[in-house]
């Protein structure tokens, strides 16, 4: 008897969803990111206008002054859709949890020098209120933004900001042996300490800014562009060794998260700039409008942290930010950040 082994080739009838096939041409297998992102938002057949803003549709491109031919051009270079995003963050959370446990077991923050504990309480822990504000601002982007490519990434960003606020809370608890006095003090500092009032005022102005793309730019590019280098990275250098290593372990996620989110933020700005000259001009105006005020607002905080080094450290961070803007195609006028007569928002 002879046995023939045959392979039979079973072709799937269709490779992907029709909207993906329409967008990417031939009916070929799509990545999960494409399938979970492109053309998901409703575009037609809205039966009612939003009653609170009857001049707009529910999803409306006119809610920002940025004009795009295709709003799905804002693809995320990290290719985050729900599945990979959750997996990536779950892994990072495990690492961060064991870092916190290490810091706690060795009492690295609790037993740090009094001056360092006071410094962290006053200069770092209040940032949890900043993170909450950043969550609010990104919620605005999610609520009024157009196209799942950008609103999806912004939604993940809101969750990240809540997580960062919670990690800062954990640092407060570590400083205090799980008591809440440090958190209460940090809240009082955020509300009353002169070194935070400019920052708080700027955040509150951004809460009432209507254009969602401006909010995205100002919060995620401009505000973070100063807060993360100055408040997260540089602070380590002014702490004594014990507190500095406890601090580095506790903020490791925040620092690697910032490097990662820069990729998405810069890609979004680059896409908007590449679309048209008008967009580029608009982004440039927004940066030049907000940057001087933000530098002024942040100056007392930088002075409290770095003393007479503050101006140099701030200038370096501003220089980096301007260079980043240059790389995405926005030539920011560099004289404005240090110009005390600069226009304020």
């Amino acid at each position: 008897m002879q046995v023939d082994i045959k392979t039979s080739d079973i072709r799937p009838i269709r490779q992907t969803f029709s909207q993906i096939a329409r967008r990417f041409g031939a009916d070929k297998p799509a990545t999960r990111y494409q399938e979970a992102t492109f053309d998901l938002q409703s575009t037609a057949n809205f039966h009612y206008r939003p009653l609170w803003q009857p001049q707009y549709d529910l999803y409306d491109v006119r809610r920002t002054a940025i004009v795009m031919d295709d709003w799905y051009a804002f693809r995320d270079p990290r290719h985050y859709y729900y599945g990979v995003y959750v997996q990536a963050r779950a892994r990072q959370q495990e690492v961060q949890e064991s870092n916190f446990e290490f810091v706690d077991r060795r009492r690295m923050l609790r037993d740090a020098a009094e001056a360092d504990r006071a410094r962290l309480t006053r200069l770092l822990v209040p940032l949890r209120h900043y993170e909450w504000g950043a969550n609010m601002n990104n919620c605005t982007v999610v609520a009024y933004g157009y196209g799942a490519a950008i609103t999806q990434a912004a939604q993940f960003h809101t969750m990240d900001r809540l997580g960062l606020a919670q990690y800062l809370t954990r640092i407060g608890l570590l400083l205090d042996g799980n008591d809440t006095a440090v958190l209460d003090q940090a809240r009082q500092d955020w509300l009353g300490d002169p070194c935070w009032q400019g920052v708080r005022a700027c955040m509150e102005k951004l809460f009432v800014t209507a254009d969602w793309f401006e909010v995205l730019l100002v919060q995620n590019f401009l505000f973070d562009g100063l807060v993360y280098p100055l408040a997260m990275s540089h602070l380590e250098q002014v702490l004594a060794p014990q507190a500095a290593s406890g601090y580095a372990l506790s903020t490791e996620f925040a620092q690697s998260w910032y490097e990662e989110s820069v990729r998405w933020v810069d890609a979004s700005l680059r896409t908007a700039v590449a679309e048209s000259e008008a967009n580029a001009v608009l982004l440039k105006q927004w940066i030049e409008h907000w940057l001087p005020a933000w530098v002024d607002a942040f100056r007392p905080r930088a002075t409290a942290a770095f003393g007479d080094q503050a101006e140099a450290v701030t200038a370096e961070a501003v220089g980096d930010l301007v260079a980043r803007a240059g790389r995405v195609g926005i030539a920011v006028n560099t004289s404005s950040p240090s110009d005390p007569t600069g226009r304020k928002p």
């Binding site: 392979t7 080739d9 990545t31 290719h79």
Partner: protein, 89 residues
Amino acid sequence: MNNNVFIALQTSDEARAIIDAILDDNPAATRSDFPAMVKIDAPGRLVVRRESVGQRLGRDWDLQELHLSLISLSGNIDESDDEFCLVRG
């Protein structure tokens, strides 16, 4: 004499990014589909670039990860951290 090189890869989600990258980086390459396998032939030379695959996957990709999807290949291998190159002749 036939101086074609080829690489055969599984058709998994990950391998699709590699296949796309190879086809974009090697204009002379031809793709043939088989059940659960894609074979890419090219005259003389075929290159897999770390950067191109990483861009399509949205994360850093190590060239050694190629071996998770690799079924077979033919040609002499010239390998660095950034490029995996098949050559003949």
